[in-house]
Symmetry: C2
Subunit: 350 residues, 2 copies
């Protein structure tokens, strides 16, 4: 079976204590004894038992990447996971992935958690991604589990996203996207997205602010339809095109909504960007297949993921030290789906 320190001691003809000292390079020892012990270690293929280390140090050297209330990980979350893993692996830590669903109204004590988050010691800390609610934060506070939050899709009070969190500034990014469209000559700029979601509302606010300041004609579809984002984009587009004085550009709340808008425009033979320019949000790779290529807003998931890992590492080193949230800027990725505003009023379609 697996060699233990005892086997090494016997083989090298020394005591357990000596082997331990030599392997840990703690205290004095004879170089000759050292050589003998290391030979025995090599011969037996001995390695310190991981569980023992973890038991002693009371850590698992493992961090949980928790995807909340989502069916699948999208490429943005995937990139965050990979970036997290990269940073943590350098410190010898592993990342375990798990998904979890819960309602925002459940009392903290009643939230059913995966075992790794219910039991003590399986993971040292948690990275919260996907969609989360305030009640889960309470669970972690109470059990003394350090966590760090990717806060953009958080539904609780904004105050809770001010510490131990990473957030990208979607509001400003949408403001800037509208200014970009205005520079291209667009006067009638639409927004499409269900603002019942706080994150879509923030993007809407950025849009509305810029549109107001630039005295553009805002045209909005922000209803709370119970459909998926792609379908939302289609329905929104149908409605926008019914408008007597329709938009020449659309800012979609995310890339999926943009894909729906795109589908409907293509379906109706509306040219992009000839007749309508389109901007998405998220810059997710999945949508790189759209033709023309979609102008979108990147949130730099690699940076977010790496910072999340570093922030958690700092909390693990000193659990008391809470940290202010880090805000990351986004970046408009200009591609082919935006162009100059068409000169003359176009015929209404629909």
């Amino acid at each position: 079976m697996k060699a233990t320190i005892k086997d090494v001691a016997k083989k090298a003809g020394v005591s357990l204590a000596t082997v331990s000292r030599i392997l840990n390079e703690s205290g004095y020892f004879d170089e000759e004894t050292g050589r003998r012990v290391r030979e025995a270690v090599a011969a037996l293929g001995y390695r310190r038992n991981v569980h023992w280390t973890r038991l002693k140090r009371n850590t698992s050297e493992t961090v949980c990447f928790l995807l909340g209330n989502r069916d699948a990980m999208n490429s943005m979350q995937m990139r965050m996971l990979v970036a997290c893993e990269g940073v943590l692996r350098e410190k010898g830590m592993d990342v375990v992935f798990t998904g979890m669903r819960y309602g925002s109204e459940q009392r903290s004590a009643q939230i059913a958690r995966p075992r790794m988050l219910a039991e003590d010691g399986i993971v040292d800390g948690v990275v919260l991604t996907g969609q989360h609610h305030a009640n889960l934060l309470g669970v972690f506070e109470r059990m003394g589990m350090p966590y760090v939050l990717a806060a953009n899709n958080f539904t609780g009070k904004p105050a809770l996203t001010k510490r131990n969190a990473v957030i990208y500034d979607d509001r400003t990014a949408c403001d800037e996207a509208v200014r970009y469209l205005a520079r291209l000559g667009h006067k009638r700029v639409a927004f499409a997205g269900n603002i019942a979601y706080p994150w879509f509302r923030r993007r809407y606010e950025g849009y509305a602010e810029a549109a107001g300041q630039l005295r553009l004609t805002p045209i909005e579809v922000t209803d709370d339809w119970q459909v998926n984002s792609i379908e939302y984009g289609r329905l929104a587009t149908a409605q926008l095109l019914r408008h007597p004085n329709g938009p020449t550009a659309v800012l979609a709340a995310n890339d999926e909504v943009a894909a729906g808008v795109w589908k409907e425009l293509v379906h109706r033979g509306v040219r992009i960007p000839g007749e309508i320019s389109l901007i998405g949000f998220g810059d997710r790779e999945e949508f790189s297949i759209l033709e023309p290529s979609l102008t979108s807003i990147s949130v730099y998931p690699d940076k977010l993921g790496a910072e999340l890992a570093r922030m958690l590492l700092r909390r693990l080193a000193d659990p008391a030290a809470e940290e202010a949230a880090k805000v990351f800027p986004c970046q408009l990725m200009e591609r082919a789906s935006c162009g100059p505003a068409p000169r003359q009023l176009q015929a209404v379609r629909g």
Copy 2:
């Protein structure tokens, strides 16, 4: 700090052994003593130290989901991961995710592995997904690490995929896809995909076999161009359209190639499926945004992932018992990108 069994014993006024027996329900004990102990446990919030259990049982109750030689997980792999996790969680096991890159020509001993796969005891077994080579299997054999292989993107000898593996029958699926196109009246059916990849070659063979038996006119683009799959699809399409007697249907080696084909066709104004029908492979969600919706071949990643987990569980229970590979059928998902073959010969475009 955290309560230990000692604290419980003191609080309940009994010995360690008694507490242990009662908590494990092993041996006889007085019901009254049992109540006192359980009260103490509740009062102190005592829970058995996970690391101790793992040390004793010499397991980690953790399985590694290893994505080989890929930058990101696609939705197929994601679904496999989630399905794996579901099955394993029921057994109280966790899934840790990691990515890893290595060359097929490296000697087993020289492959650099993440710590969780280099050290003993961190994970109990490995699920291999993504793209893998034979040399890594050797590493796991040598260290006695049970593994299970999602074998479709394996580059080594096919014999190595005959045990402890799960594989979907892409060959037959492509054969059937061609027959489906033939039933729609297509006589000139093309295949697009780089057959330097063994998995694309298998799909090509299925295509070629059916085309031969049905006496269709095969038109193939199988060159080893060093470009990504989407670009491959575009280039292949450009070439197919240059053909004096071009295809009326295209079977793409995977959904990404199909997306490239689709892009190029749309770009050139070729109607799908009016002029050319198109079939992808993989049925990945990312491509559901294509318009018209893409007919594709589903590989049922949920089933694959669950079976992978179950197979690994069986190996963990009895490491000696190697199992024959499980072959899963695929399923053609008929959607809007295929239609009847156009009646008359169409003008050559390009």
